[in-house]
């Protein structure tokens, strides 16, 4: 089992044409930032899979002064780690797309209503990889929350975006061949489009 660092996972996603927030990987705080505020500061370390559980994520940092303060706190906590600064993504609808390896069925892909309540609601749909475009559309139809695609309050999900994401993830897992587990969660859909806010990858 090998955990891939979030920054590397997101760089790979970007290569496949998947939107990720602007980011930079740092050891120490630079003089100036190429990323617009507000930003998120995350610890980036192979040994820390669940960052928020260990206080490794600070969100909504509004200016350089605040960033310096939070960075120093973080640096004291994780003196040997690297850090990730990312543009903060505006709120929206949260989906999860993931993959897991099953010893009988092989590579699978999952779509679901995302965020922190994934395991509570379990509104998800699985398929075996590789999937077709038709499979991707039918995964959306499986969700109880599919009404979100017709518009709910101010939110409206575009089916085409989700289908294209599913096909790309199916492709990534096929190409990598040794994925044990992959979570893109949450993927936030807001007025600017969609962004993969957190990405976790474990290789076999």
């Amino acid at each position: 089992m090998e955990i891939v660092e979030e920054y590397d996972v997101k760089q790979m996603l970007k290569k496949y044409g998947i939107n990720v927030p602007d980011s930079m990987l740092i050891k120490d705080l630079p003089e100036r930032l190429d990323i617009e505020f507000p930003v998120v500061l995350k610890v980036s370390d192979k040994n820390i899979l669940h960052k928020s559980d260990v206080g490794g994520v600070v969100i909504n940092i509004k200016n350089m002064e605040e960033l310096k303060e939070k960075f120093n706190e973080m640096k004291n906590k994780f003196p040997n780690s690297k850090f990730l600064i990312e543009k903060m993504v505006k709120p929206g609808i949260e989906l999860i797309i993931g993959s897991t390896y099953d010893k009988n069925f092989g590579q699978t892909i999952m779509l679901g209503i995302g965020g922190i309540f994934v395991e509570l609601y379990k509104d998800v749909s699985f398929r075996l990889i590789p999937i077709s475009e038709k499979d991707a559309y039918s995964m959306i139809d499986d969700l109880k929350g599919k009404k979100l695609f017709e518009g709910f309050r101010n939110y409206k999900l575009k089916k085409e975006d989700v289908v294209s994401l599913l096909l790309k993830v199916s492709q990534i897992v096929s190409d990598l061949k040794n994925v044990d587990q992959l979570d893109l969660n949450p993927i936030i859909f807001n007025e600017d489009g969609y962004f993969v806010v957190d990405a976790k990858l474990i290789l076999k």
Partner: protein, 458 residues
């Protein structure tokens, strides 16, 4: 090669017995009761005749080719018997005994011995821990249920592969009540050799088989099944009853996806991907296999309902259109022209609106007209017809009318009632009209046609 399994010329029963309580006796009795007209060779070192069959000391003493050997001995004794079958070059050996891997480590070792005994040979094993096969067309049954206490179906169009023997036999006993038939039944048991995939391959090629019913608790190789069924499902409809849905199954996973991925959620996704229709009971398994064997797939979701009982039309419409406790299809909006024609054919207090109610005044002739108009209406994709024999103007000829419209749009029939109802269901079955004894089963079977059509359509 499978011809020798499904249409054998000779069957040896190793462990044949005079004792009526022993399986070695029941198997012979079943072959006799079925009127199997190939050669039967009971094997027993101590007997001369059993049930009028000449008995042989060993399979190696038989001066004939053996297509199937049924071994009714204990697990331990079965291993030597299999070895002798290999020497005799028997292509198919059915090992009935339990006491193999399903019982633990010791049994697993015995099972490995079986596997080793046939490795690199032409001999294939069905089982162990199996009731074997039942092929009505060839009058072959190796079932271990007593013939006087079990009804088994006649020849039909459904190929049935089951991991459970008892559930398989019981289900066949149930469907034989309405004369629904099977093209073959194979209980794969512990499935150390012959797998569901090879048997599906046979049924795909068998021209008598129009649909395949599967009862599986596990897949021998899930990924292989997926690759195989991708093509297979396009050729013939497959219905799956998957036992063990609630097994936790999810692996110890550190991420969300892994933690949610139960075996059943993956199976569910795979069946949707493959266009395999999922059944959740043994009754649904054969309801869907039957409708898919007899009827063409639906090309849309707009259904017309014809009844002589208003309430039946109302509950059918609810079940048909509701997302909760229903299947979420649509009631067809009939063309004005259709409605006008129907109005002229039925009594004034009947309903020409869908669901169409002919009322207790409904006659066989009215059904004929209404079905003709509905078949001409392009707003109708499929038709549910209730043939209710309880009123005066309906007669036996209604079945002829229904048979005539089997050529038309996909049609599923509901026939409710007890004595007469059953007789009419049997009559419908004779003509391969998919008919069901209640509203829910009628509507759900129509939905199976919808799922099949949706899968094939796009």
């Amino acid at each position: 090669m499978f011809q020798r399994l499904f249409n054998p010329s000779s069957i040896a029963v190793i462990g044949a017995s005079k004792d009526e309580k022993k399986i070695g006796n029941v198997v012979l009795k079943n072959l006799k009761a079925m009127g199997y007209n190939g050669k039967v060779y009971p094997i027993n070192p101590k007997e001369d005749t059993i049930l009028d069959f000449k008995v042989y000391r060993s399979i190696l003493d038989i001066n004939d080719e053996i297509d199937i050997a049924v071994i009714t001995l204990s697990a331990n004794q079965s291993i030597q018997a299999v070895k002798e079958c290999v020497i005799k070059n028997v292509p198919f050996v059915i090992v009935i005994a339990g006491g193999f891997s399903e019982t633990g480590e010791e049994g697993k070792k015995l099972e490995d011995e079986l596997i080793n005994a046939i490795k690199g040979t032409n001999t294939r094993i069905i089982g162990p821990n199996t009731v074997g096969i039942y092929i009505p067309r060839s009058n072959v049954s190796t079932a271990l249920t007593l013939p006087e206490r079990t009804s088994l179906p006649g020849d039909g169009n459904i190929g049935f592969i089951s991991q459970s023997g008892a559930l398989g036999l019981l289900t066949m006993d149930i469907i034989s009540e309405y004369n629904l038939g099977v093209s073959g039944f194979i209980n794969i048991g512990n499935r150390i050799d012959l797998s569901e995939i090879e048997l599906m391959e046979y049924f795909l090629k068998d021209e008598n088989t129009k649909s395949i019913a599967l009862y599986l608790e596990t897949f021998k190789d899930g990924r292989k099944f997926f690759e195989f069924a991708k093509e297979a499902s396009k050729i013939k409809p497959i219905v799956l009853l998957k036992g063990g849905r609630t097994d936790a199954g999810a692996k110890a996973a550190s991420l969300h996806t892994g933690a949610i991925a139960t075996n059943d959620s993956i199976v569910d996704g795979m069946t949707k991907q493959l266009g395999i229709i999922r059944a959740y009971t043994e009754i649904e398994l054969f309801d869907y296999a039957k409708v898919l064997a007899y009827q063409k797939p639906l090309k849309g979701d707009r259904i017309a309902v014809v009844t002589t009982a208003g309430g039946v039309g109302v509950v059918t419409s609810d079940y048909l259109t509701s997302q909760v406790n229903g299947v979420g299809l649509k009631l067809a909006k009939l063309k004005e022209e259709t409605k006008n024609k129907i109005k002229k054919s039925i009594v004034p207090f009947g309903s020409a609106e869908n669901p169409i109610d002919l009322t207790a005044d409904g006659s066989t002739e009215q059904y004929d007209h209404v079905l003709e108009y509905l078949n001409e209406d392009e707003n109708v994709d499929g038709i549910i017809v209730y043939a209710l024999y309880q009123t005066a103007k309906i007669d036996i000829d209604l079945i002829d009318v229904l048979e005539k419209y089997m050529k038309g749009k996909p049609m599923v029939v509901g026939i409710m009632g007890s004595k007469i109802g059953k007789r009419m269901l049997v009559e419908a079955e004779k003509r391969k009209i998919p008919a069901y004894p209640d509203i829910e089963r009628t509507v759900k079977s129509m939905y199976a046609l919808y799922l099949r059509g949706k899968y094939l359509g796009d």
